[in-house]
């Protein structure tokens, strides 16, 4: 069976999630071959890397409307590629762009689309698939019946691995309505350099137990001495204590620090989903039965308002010594 992978990139910079999509496609395609689809001339340079991850053919699409990202132009280009190449399945990344483009293609092809797959049972009709729900805290087994199977793969579900493919480059022509230019990115504001919540090696998170916006000062101080950043739970943003940009969770930022210090956070599903990729978790909480405490690697039972300043002081004491 042949499987087409929609390559995600931003003006020529390959998204690492694409390599996971290629790995997923290889498990399904068997001998039939994995084909990669790159949209826009800026993506031409990545053909070699795609071949190195198993692409037997790299279909390159060039069009003025594909010079930058636009969900409708990309979705229409994918739909036309599916009509031309007639693959058995199409796989995209379970990212913002990947799901958006696949949904656009699915709407245009009038086909179902299964988002965030973790297991793909290909073969007899219908396919049986396992996918994420609730941001990954629950799974769904579903069936998929369709002439072409459209899937996005969940992050971390398939491991990227090198697997040499022929990588034959082929040109694919699409016909795009100029009206699709209406949803192409017109401007960008680059983020200032520096550590972000998503990339920080250490996050000090505060929840409802912190009590007020002002009471975050000791958390800021501790994060400051350790070169980390402050995060928070949804309860905190809903109370207006901190901006949503600091929110860790299903509808906030997914973090993956070396250590997450969760202070006064009960650990509801909404928050846990955003924190669970942390390598180690230390919970500081007055309630030893709190979900965050029982799920954490380490815990201190106590009032964060007393524990956190004591930690900061101990760090300063050792550094001074």
């Amino acid at each position: 069976m042949s499987v087409l992978v929609v390559v995600e990139h931003d003006r020529g910079a390959l998204s690492p999630a694409t390599l996971e999509a290629l790995a997923a496609a290889r498990t399904v395609a068997g001998e039939g071959g994995v084909h990669a689809l790159t949209l826009g001339a800026a993506a031409d340079g990545m053909a070699g890397e795609l071949a190195g991850h198993g692409a037997s053919v790299v279909h390159q699409v060039h069009h003025d409307l594909l010079s930058d990202y636009g969900p409708e132009a990309w979705g229409e280009a994918v739909a036309q590629a599916v009509r031309t190449l007639a693959p058995e399945a199409v796989v995209a990344c379970g990212t913002d762009r990947g799901t958006e483009v696949m949904a656009q293609a699915a709407a245009r092809l009038d086909l179902p689309m299964v988002a965030n797959c973790t297991e793909i049972g290909a073969g007899a009709e219908p396919w049986t698939i396992v996918r994420l729900r609730w941001g990954g805290s629950l799974l769904e087994q579903c069936t998929l019946q369709a002439s072409t199977k459209l899937l996005t793969v969940a992050h971390h579900a398939f491991e990227a691995a090198e697997a040499p493919g022929a990588g034959t480059v082929s040109s694919l022509v699409v016909d795009l309505d100029p009206a699709l230019g209406r949803t192409i990115v017109v401007d960008r504001v680059e983020r200032a350099a520096g550590v972000t919540l998503a990339t920080a090696p250490l996050v000090v998170g505060g929840g409802r137990g912190v009590g007020s916006a002002e009471a975050f000062a000791p958390l800021e101080e501790l994060a400051g001495v350790l070169g980390g950043v402050v995060g928070c739970s949804r309860a905190v943003t809903n109370n207006g204590w901190r901006n949503h940009t600091d929110q860790v969770g299903q509808t906030g930022t997914r973090i993956a620090p070396d250590l997450y210090m969760a202070c006064g956070i009960s650990g509801a599903i909404q928050h846990w989903v955003g924190a669970m990729a942390s390598k180690k978790i230390l919970a500081i909480n007055t309630d030893p039965e709190a979900n965050m405490v029982t799920k954490a690697d380490y815990a201190v039972i106590g009032d964060l308002h007393k524990v956190i300043p004591a930690i900061t002081e101990e760090i300063r004491r050792r550094r001074g010594a």
């Binding site: 969900p71 069936t143 509808t251 919970a283």
Partner: protein
């Protein structure tokens, strides 16, 4: 400016999500329900846009009869009209849901005139299929961008902002259009007592949903493998500070 906002009623889980014995649904015996978080912000955005530019806001949901609660909550913070597409099942698949919402929008528009903007949440908190808004937009032949965290109206165009790994992307989308909103675009207000009382009197229009089942059908819900952790207790109160700093040292975080 006339704005339609489409929402979904979802359970509000605490520390754990339990599944019913038949595997067909989340066990909600002990759970409250809420509006899916991205959509809560979409409702607030609709109210703000009408406050700023005039016109009228409408909230629509496809769901069980109890979803009346979420429609009235939207009304309590200022949405003008409410429409319920009642279903007997817990949920409909995304193709079927999209078809029903599209048909309902066509009916509403032929009766009351067009919506300049239709808002969805980026994805629902429970099923997370990431596609209903896109399908509806395509069926209505309207532009659609998902993941929006900023909306400014500039005449017949909406300047929409979306976050990416690299920063912020800006889109200039002509109206009528469809946008998928992400939490963080605003901080939803709480209803006032007056708003709550008024919402009880709002007439919720009922429209029978029509749509054929799609190609994706749920078989069963499954628990994700639980992360089992033997929590190491570092101590109680401020006396635990040295043990915490030892841990920071061990993890190489005390540079």
């Amino acid at each position: 400016m006339n704005v339609l906002v489409c929402v979904k009623r979802v359970p509000a889980p605490g520390a754990r999500i339990s599944i019913t014995a038949d595997g067909q649904a989340v066990d909600t015996a002990y759970l409250a329900f809420t509006t899916s978080p991205h959509e809560e912000c979409a409702v607030e955005a609709a109210v703000q846009l009408v406050e700023q530019h005039g016109g009228e806001s409408t909230v629509l949901t496809l769901g069980p009869a109890e979803a009346d609660e979420q429609l009235r909550y939207a009304a309590s913070i200022g949405v003008n009209k409410a429409v319920l597409l009642p279903i007997d099942e817990v949920d409909w698949d995304p193709q079927r849901t999209s078809a029903a919402i599209t048909a309902a929008i066509r009916d509403l528009e032929s009766a009351n005139g067009p919506f300049d903007l239709v808002l969805f949440g980026n994805e629902s908190a429970d099923s997370g299929n990431f596609q209903v808004g896109v399908r509806v937009a395509h069926a209505l032949a309207r532009p659609m961008v998902n993941g929006i965290k900023g909306i400014e109206v500039e005449g017949g165009t909406i300047r929409a902002r979306r976050e990416s790994d690299a920063g912020v992307e800006v889109y200039l989308v002509p109206t009528p259009c469809v946008l998928g909103v992400k939490e963080g675009i605003n901080l939803p207000r709480y209803p006032t007592l007056k708003g709550r009382l008024a919402s009880k009197k709002v007439d919720v229009a009922q429209v029978s949903p029509v749509g054929e089942p799609g190609g994706q059908q749920m078989v069963t819900l499954l628990q994700a493998a639980e992360q089992v952790s033997q929590t190491v207790m570092l101590g109680n109160g401020p006396e635990a500070a040295p043990a915490v700093v030892d841990l920071l040292e061990e993890l190489g975080l005390l540079k």
